[in-house]
């Protein structure tokens, strides 16, 4: 079982690392984080926050957009692409279970994301360390950013598999993935903000908003990271608004975990029902 999962994972890593879009995304991560780290010292001084903390706070905003994009780019092809190419028939004619197939894909793609994050953010972390720009606490912040970004990536990978298995055609899966990215990463936040601004009773802000935020892995990620940095007011977005949370911030992480488990389970169910 392990051999088959690792076989699939290895092949996906190869394909993922040869994907120019993934490379481009990793380069963007690196460029942004480097420039933020190099240019970000002036405002930090006035606010009295660690320079690295500012960098990490800005980078988590970057992660929210880029990491789901990388994950969906990797995942949308996972099932639909194999159906279109006819290779799913080949794979499923081998003694491998559909669950093993999907977990292999997830493992390989997750490794690609971790490598992209490590490459993209690692450069900056090393640079900040070398120039003495960050304290030990700030390094922990950085590690937290990379780890939670990977978790966010896994959530969107799982979502991508659901879309890919439900769509069954590469082009449909690609369109759905773009749509879901816009919806969950851009529009969701805006919609919550819109409702919040327009309501007067305060019911939404107190009762619904905190849960609406953690229901979406992207917002849950932002909430957790900014909260952990104590920088909610530093960077805008919905996460900054939910101040009096009815739960500890770690619940946001738990919620991402639950999202991953549910989405992966749904993807397995869908893949089991496919006639290749």
């Amino acid at each position: 079982m392990l051999i088959r999962i690792l076989t699939i994972a290895g092949q996906e890593m190869r394909i993922g690392l040869r994907n120019r879009w993934i490379l481009l995304a990793a380069v963007i991560l690196a460029l942004f984080s480097l420039s933020l780290a190099l240019l970000g010292s002036a405002p930090a001084g006035t606010l009295g926050v660690d320079r690295m903390t500012v960098t990490v706070a800005s980078l988590s905003s970057l992660s929210v957009y880029l990491v789901p994009l990388i994950a969906l780019l990797l995942a949308f092809d996972a099932v639909a692409g194999e159906i279109d190419r006819g290779t799913l028939q080949l794979i499923f004619s081998c003694p491998i279970s559909r669950g093993e197939f999907l977990f292999g894909k997830a493992l390989g793609h997750f490794a690609v994301i971790v490598l992209a994050l490590g490459g993209g953010y690692g450069v900056t972390a090393v640079l900040l360390l070398a120039t003495g720009g960050g304290s030990q606490a700030a390094l922990i912040d950085f590690a937290r950013l990379v780890a939670t970004s990977a978790l966010l990536g896994l959530a969107f990978l799982a979502l991508g598999y659901v879309l890919s298995a439900a769509a069954r055609h590469t082009s449909t899966a690609a369109a759905l993935s773009i749509g879901i990215w816009l919806l969950m990463v851009v529009l969701y936040d805006l919609a919550l903000l819109g409702v919040l601004v327009s309501e007067t009773s305060g019911f939404f802000a107190a009762r619904i908003l905190p849960f609406a935020i953690i229901a979406n892995p992207a917002d849950a990620f932002r909430l957790f990271n900014l909260n952990a940095l104590g920088a909610s007011d530093l960077v805008g977005g919905m996460a900054g608004i939910a101040e009096a949370l009815p739960y500890p911030p770690a619940v946001a992480l738990l919620s991402i975990g639950i999202f991953i488990v549910l989405a992966l389970a749904l993807a397995v169910v869908l893949v089991r029902r496919i006639t290749p």
Partner: protein, 301 residues
């Protein structure tokens, strides 16, 4: 009793209230090379998918070496080449083959020799994206042959291959059959599988209309032999009148006869003596035999 490599009993598959495969029964013994022929839409691919367990038959049963289709035992026994397969462009031929070797629990190191066998030795390290259609097909074939399967299913394996590669392909099939594997391959043309298979199955509009050796099929079809008699100047009319054939142009007369009457018919022609300039005897071609069984279903309905 030796175990059947494959056994289908009254297998029916219905799509949108139309039977794509309709009451098909046959058995394959170990080491047999069998061709499955049929027009476009006859149900060949559907049949393969049921043998693989991708589709469940609506009626009837399939058993692969005594195991249920799609079970791990059945999948371990089967090697399969789908009709249209395109490997990921970013991978090299060698990477693709090593991948399937591992999935099937084989030693990936075997892939180098197999790539040589299918004539891809020089292209092993090149990306599949840069392969020609025939090279991709050969890679697909290599993938199917990497494990010592006891049942090899090949769906239109020679489509896109040039005549030499086709020859090499059938040589490979022979090698595989020689080590005891049963080979079931689908094709559109009887001419192609002629000398290369032990038995022929013909599927027409989902029904199995023939299951026999080529020699028996030829005999059963009882197709007429065509005789074309070329007359000397101006004799065609008289020849047609005396033999009862049809005049096809100024000089020739065409007539058909049963294989059994051939000699008598030729004797009658010989009796015409100086009227006759030449005789052509045309035996029914393989395509004629195929058309006889397959009917004129031709295209999908």
């Amino acid at each position: 009793m030796t175990q059947r490599a494959l056994e289908l009993a009254e297998v029916t598959k219905i799509f949108d209230r139309r039977a794509a495969v309709d009451g098909v029964s046959f058995q394959l013994a170990a080491g047999e090379r069998v061709a499955l022929l049929g027009h476009n839409g006859a149900g060949k691919t559907t049949l393969f998918k049921m043998i693989l367990g991708f589709l469940k038959p609506d009626h009837g049963s399939v058993s692969v070496l005594g195991a249920a289709p799609g079970s791990n035992a059945a999948r371990r026994a089967i090697a399969y080449l789908p009709e249209a397969v395109a490997f990921h462009n970013a991978l090299t031929g060698e990477e693709v083959l090593r991948f399937y070797a591992r999935l099937k629990g084989e030693d990936p190191a075997k892939s180098a020799a197999l790539l040589e066998d299918v004539g891809l030795g020089a292209a092993a390290r090149r990306r599949v994206g840069a392969y020609s259609k025939g090279m991709r097909q050969r890679l697909g074939l290599a993938q199917a042959l990497i494990s010592p399967a006891s049942l090899v299913l090949l769906d239109e394996p020679t489509s896109g291959l040039d005549p030499i590669s086709r020859q090499n392909f059938y040589d490979l099939v022979e090698k595989v059959a020689a080590r005891g594997a049963t080979v079931l391959l689908s094709s559109h043309a009887l001419t192609e599988v002629e000398a290369r298979t032990d038995r022929i199955l013909i599927l027409s509009a989902g029904k199995l209309v023939a299951d026999n050796t080529l020699a028996r099929l030829r005999a059963d079809a009882q197709l007429p032999i065509r005789l074309r008699v070329q007359g000397n100047d101006g004799a065609a009319g008289e020849i047609a009148a005396r033999l009862g054939g049809t005049q096809v142009n100024g000089r020739s007369v065409e007539l058909f006869c049963d294989p059994a009457d051939k000699v008598a018919r030729l004797a009658a022609i010989a009796e015409l003596g100086p009227l006759v300039a030449d005789i052509d005897v045309t035996l029914p071609s393989l395509d004629d035999v195929y058309r006889h069984f397959s009917g004129d279903e031709g295209a999908e309905g």
